[in-house]
């Protein structure tokens, strides 16, 4: 019997563990957005949003404090912060395409064992939105795919081959999920961490992707 799965906030905590002091980070919409709430205060991180702002503060959740002239790429109101900079969209995308983003955390429809990412067509829709996600997937120094391992219906999101249209081929470096953390390597998909209560066999049983289990497999910790 497999263990509990992490909730979305806890998944975001695990992803935020990857952010090192001084990094430039871009968070995709959905679960990745939560990561900004979990950066330890001793680390100074600059969050970039493709609509044209870098170094902003927390997301604002009430209309009294919100300013329509300060929003993130999910059109959520955000707070300003000393050191913040505003730029136009072309400059903002130069930051992305020019390889100046250290880590982007992106949501997933499917991610393959080779690191192919499909995330721009929402299931049930026929038309997709590439937005700024394609530039991020192709050009960030490191791409983290943050997702539940399976859909609500139990279908794997970590797969051998993507069947959905690709946002970018061979772009994902690391997959952080609600049951495991995996690295995409030239040798294949390597299981690095399992959530307490889960075994490598139970993770493998949920996907047709081939998972390599190294001798130093660890239990996930959040700090």
């Amino acid at each position: 019997m497999a263990g509990e799965r992490l909730d979305e906030q806890t998944m975001a905590i695990r992803a935020a563990k990857e952010f090192q002091d001084g990094m430039i980070i871009n968070l995709g919409v959905g679960i990745p957005t939560f990561c900004s709430n979990f950066v330890p205060p001793e680390r100074e991180i600059l969050f970039h949003s493709e609509n044209g702002v870098i170094g902003f503060g927390a997301i604002i959740d009430n209309a009294d404090d919100a300013d329509e002239n300060l929003i993130n790429a999910g059109a959520q109101p955000i707070s300003g912060k000393p050191g913040m900079a505003i730029m136009d969209h072309a400059e903002s995308l130069c930051i992305i395409r020019g390889g100046h983003i250290d880590i982007t955390v992106l949501g997933v429809v499917q991610v393959s064992e080779k690191g192919d990412l499909a995330n721009y067509v929402i299931p049930g829709k026929q038309i997709g939105s590439l937005g700024g996600g394609q530039d991020l997937a192709f050009c960030a120094k490191r791409v983290i795919a943050l997702t539940t391992f399976t859909t609500k219906e139990g279908q794997p999101k970590v797969v051998k081959e993507c069947t959905q249209p690709l946002t970018a081929p061979r772009c994902v470096d690391q997959i952080i999920t609600d049951i495991a953390v995996l690295d995409v390597t030239p040798e294949g998909l390597v299981l690095r961490e399992v959530v307490p209560g889960w075994t490598a066999e139970e993770v493998q049983a949920l996907t047709d992707a081939k998972i390599i289990v190294p001798p130093d497999l660890q239990e996930m910790t959040l700090l």
Partner: protein
């Protein structure tokens, strides 16, 4: 004397023709959207437009729902008119867009138009769209970018390898009109913006034959700090001032 201030939104788009390519500034919120210029295009009723921008808009009905749902986190004014208005009125034949599908389980007027086969869609990433517009403004015919190789975006494009990485040839994109939103202007057409309402607006300035800026305020020459001007006047042909109080889209102004 140089004076690019025009008296009305209707006058600002009076010479727009059927079949025009219209770049529409904004990103996805109300503050950066050239609402009254879009309303003027809707009133003019020009048809077969190609619209270029981030989204195809929500349209009047979905905006009303959004306004209600968003009220807890952001107060949205009554005078947010987006490209969905032009879709609802059957004025659009093609969209060159980054975000044509709403990030929700609703169908926007643009999505409906595409699914019904009435509207053509060219979807592309924001970096490529920005660069194609900037190329048009700067006299660059085409450029290579690595973004899109091996995806839907590659179809029909030249692929060439630089430094061991495949790139796509992308062409400059020039419009007939750029409709943009800014905060302040002077009579020369120099522009400054506010916060993230800058976004696509300065990128579209100068990328079309005619660039029209919808602004909150016109100030005297010299009041804008030359070091802080974001869009130099040369890229702007017309400036129109927004009304102080919200006005309905279908009222001549």
């Amino acid at each position: 004397m140089i004076n690019k201030i025009v008296g009305s939104f209707d006058e600002a788009v009076a010479d727009m023709s059927d079949g025009a390519t219209v770049m529409i500034g904004g990103f996805g919120g109300p503050a950066e959207c050239p609402s009254y210029l879009i309303a003027a295009v809707a009133r003019k009723g020009v048809k077969d437009l190609t619209i270029v921008g981030n989204t195809g808009g929500w349209g009047v009905d979905l905006l009303a729902i959004l306004r209600e749902r968003m009220a807890v986190i952001l107060k949205i004014g009554e005078d947010w008119y987006d490209p969905g208005l032009l879709m609802e009125r059957g004025q659009v034949k093609k969209g060159i867009l980054c975000f044509p599908a709403a990030p929700a389980r609703v169908l926007t007027p643009f999505e409906q138009g595409v699914l019904q086969g009435k509207v053509e869609l060219e979807v592309l990433g924001q970096g490529t769209l920005c660069e194609r517009m900037r190329a048009a403004r700067g006299g660059i015919a085409a450029f290579y970018t690595p973004v899109g190789v091996g995806t839907i975006v590659e179809q029909g494009k030249e692929v060439r390898e630089f430094n061991g990485r495949k790139h796509l040839l992308e062409h400059a994109l020039k419009g007939d009109f750029s409709l943009i939103r800014a905060h302040k202007a002077d009579r020369y057409g120099n522009l400054v913006y506010r916060g993230t309402a800058r976004t696509f607006n300065p990128v579209m300035a100068g990328a079309s034959t005619i660039t029209v800026a919808e602004v909150d305020e016109v100030v005297e020459l010299g009041e804008l700090d030359p070091e802080c001007v974001i869009t130099p006047s040369v890229y702007v042909q017309r400036v129109v001032v927004r009304p102080k109080e919200p006005r309905p889209w279908d009222e001549a102004m």
